[in-house]
Structure formats: structure tokens, C-alpha cells
Amino acid sequence: MTAISSTADHAAVRDASIAVAEGRARARLRRRHALVIGLRLAILVVFLGLWELGADYNIIDPFFFASPSGIRDQIRVWVTEGTSQGPLWLQIYVTLEETFLGFVIGAVGGIAAGIILGRNRLLADVFSIYIKIANSVPRVVLGSVFIIALGLGMASKVALAVVMVFFVVFANAFQGVREADRAMIANAQILGASPFQITRTVIIPSAMSWILASLHVSFGFALVGAVVGEFLGAKQGMGLLISTAQGAFNANGVFAAMIILAVMALVVEFIITRFENYVVKWRPAPFNEQGT
């Protein structure tokens, strides 16, 4: 006859086997993560390696298409000796400043306009036609107008960045306000909220995910606005750096500036994502991220 093990033993055995299974699952996740990172690096190395080899053996003409080592050297020169227009940091700073100013003004304006028109049907009906017209103008063309009107300084770049950002944010904020749940608004009304309180505590939070989604893209647009503005005429900035490099047929310079811009955009994107996670922490995590 075998002894019947006590429930306490059972529980201990069960806990142990759960711990083992958990450990295995964690190890599997870690391995997968390492694999993904490794594959990403491998692709980058292969890509750059092929490009470099192609340039070395003149399959890809480095005069037109640059080469990784050339780009690296160019960035090193810019960092150590500065660019033809002054130190690299100054160029980055100028472009970032224009971008930020344009982004903030455009976003604030777009959010405000979106909320006002979203809350007021008459205004929305009246202005919708003008917004459609303004939105259909290719905005980059406005850059020339701004440079004529505002000169070669910072104002014209900021203005171009503002119009690039404004319409995207406006459209999203407007939509977000319109999609706000009617039951929720009615609930707030009956609980005693004034129209202003409803806007502040119901409309804006519920439009927030729409607005944040637009901020992601529109920072990129602000950067495009600033760079294109500098391209069209400026005394400082990354756009000018690109246009100078272009004028000198310096492909390495164009690519180097492009990479610097990409890094800038990625860093800001990261910051915006952080901000978004902070603002909408009430949102349920997607199912595949839960429990980790």
C-alpha cells in the first residue's frame, strides 16, 4: 500500500513545477529577444558591408551614392573641425529650435482650433470649407512665401513648420472631439459639469489619444518644414548644410546630414512616446503586453 501524500506536499510540488515552467518561459523570451536584436544587427552589418564593398569596387559610384566610410569621415570632420557654416552643434541647435517652436505653436494652435470647432457645430460648418482649401495647398510652396515675407532668419522656418503641423493636429483633435462618447458627456452634464468643465475633463482627455497620435507624425512634419525652409534660404541650420553639400556635389555630406536628422527625429520620437505613456497611463495594455 502506498502512502497518500499530504496536500501540503502536493502544493509544494505544484509550486516548484510552476517555478520551473516560469523560468523556462522567461529563458525562452530572453533567447527570442536576443535573436531579434542579433538579426537586426546582422542586417545592418550586411547592408553597410555590401554598400562599402560596392563603393570600393566601383559597382556603386561613391561620387553619387556616397559610401559608409565616407559618411563616417564626413561626420567626424563636422564634429571635430566644424562645418563650413560653423560648428555642427550650432546647426543642429538652430534646426531643433525652429522645429520645436514650429511644433509647439502648430500643435497648440491645432489643438485649440480642433477643440473649438469640434465643440461648436456652427463654427465647424462655416470654417470647414476654408480649412479644406487651406489644407489642399501644397504647404511646402508656402516656404517661398514665408521667406519673401519674413526673411532668411528663424521666423520663416518656424512659420513653415507651424503650417506643416497645424493641419495634422487640427484634423485629429477635431475628430477626437467629435468621437467623444455621448453617454460620457451626458453623464458629466448630469453630475453637474459646466460646458467648460466638460471640455476640460471629458472632451480633452477623450480626444487625447487622437491628439497624441498626431503629435508623433507631426514632429516629423515640423522637422521637414524647418529643413525645407532652410533649404530655400537660410544662414544656419541642417537644411543649409544639405543644400551646401548638394551644391558642392558632396554626396557624403548629404547623407551625413540626413543621418543626423534621422537621429534627431528618433530621439524626439522616443521622448514623445514616453510622454504619451505618462499621459494615458489609464489605458488598458494591449493583451499581448499584459502580465509581463
Partner: protein, 284 residues
Amino acid sequence: MQLQPMAAERLSQAAPPADAAIAIDDVTLRFVTPDGHMMTAIRDFTMTVARGEFACVVGPTGCGKSTTLNLVTGLLRPTTGNVRVMGNPVNDISRDIGFVFQADALFPWRSVIDNVAAGPLYRGTPKAQAYERARDWIGRVGLGRFEKHYPHQLSGGMRKRVALAQTFINQPKILLMDEPFSALDMQTRTAMQDELLGLWSEQKSSVVFVTHDLEEAVALADKVYVLTAGPGTVKSVYRIDLPRPRVMADIRYDPKFVEIAKVIWNDLREEVQLGQSRTLQTGH
């Protein structure tokens, strides 16, 4: 006219008295549909709820029950007829009214305690006091440990309890409830019904409680309104003379309750069938 010599007395409809908590007098409401037609949601609708009275409204789906409640809040205006609350015509959204919605209407970006405190804060109560009262109400609906949770982290039943606390904290004189418990399981629902009756007798508010569930209506109400299939109007009104306090878990086995429910069900059945065949015909 005494049709049923029993607890469910069928009442005849008279013009509402001036001091009633809610008086809906011969109201018709038409909606303009998106294609520009007029759609009658309710017609020739008369309903009176005395102060401190618990009225239930039953009727087939789409007959205008939610619409009726919205008339009382002032969110909808009657096309003809008039609505009075506490003797005054409905102009603005009254501070005396509390509304538990059919759909989930909690604010998902606010934690439980922020949701419950919303009413007092909107009405200008100082913060500390509002949160103190909110904490009290959260305790009363049994969610003390969940103050800091967000609505998406709660079960459906818990969310409904938050909604109740959110409404009750304003101590409304008039309580409108639109199928508040229809999404709950049997046990939770019974517990919530007991809770509601307790709160109601404590606060002495006047209640209009909409439900699909006739037994729920009979168990809770002083008065049951049976509506016709849409466009809705009052088909009949029954007074329910079951003794109070009532215990929800037991009342459904009370022979008197069963008898009343049967009588009203006979009345309601035709309308439900009519409503169903109509929805099937129109395909929605």
C-alpha cells in the same frame, strides 16, 4: 375600475398633480432621422411619479424607455406636451437628478475615486471634502480596496457599482436608472437590488427604473408602467402592493409576487411579440 382584485391594481391615468416629483403630461417626441424624415419615438405619453415613489418602466426593446428618461433630465425636449420635475418645467439639467446609464459611462481616464468624486467636484465642493465623501461611498458599494484602480481594471459588476456610487454621492432627489443591472450575473444583481432599495429608503428619493426584466420591476417597484411597442405610449399602470422592506432573494418565491408577475406578463407579452415581429421585419 377594479379589474384585478389583488395586489396588482391597475390604475387609470389622470392628469398629473402639481406637486409630483416627475410629471410627464401628454408628451410626444419625434426624432428627425438622418434622411430628413420624422420618427415618432413616444406618443401621448403620460406618467407621474410621486415624491419618494419607486416607479419601474417595462416595455419591448426600442419602445422609448431611454427616451422617456432623457425627457426628464432635459437632455431631450418634447415635441409637444410638457415635462415637470418637482413642480417646475424642465429647462436646464436639474441638480436634483441622478442618472445611471444603460451604457458604461464612467470616465476611463479617472481612477475609481476620481470617478466617484466627479459629481461633488463639478458642483464646487472643496477637494478634501469631495474625496472624503467619495471614499465613504466607495466603501458602501464594497470597493474600498479598489480606489486607485482604473475602470478597465475592474469587472463589469464592479464598474456598475462605481457608477452607482458616482450617482448616489450627489444625493439626487430624483434617481433615473436605465437598465442598470442588466449586464450583471444573478447573485450580483440581487445584491445590488437590495443595496438600491436600502439606499432609496434611506434617501427618500423618487426613482424611475427602466428594465427589460418584468420580475425585477415587480420586485422593486411601487408602480409598474407597461409601454406599448414603439412608438411607445403607456399601455397600463399597475400598483404593486407587496410589503416593504423587500428581500430580493426571497421575494421571487412569494406566491403573491408570482401572481402579480403573471398578470402583468400577460399584458406585456403581446407588446413584446409585436415589437419582435416589427424589428424582424425592418431588419434591425
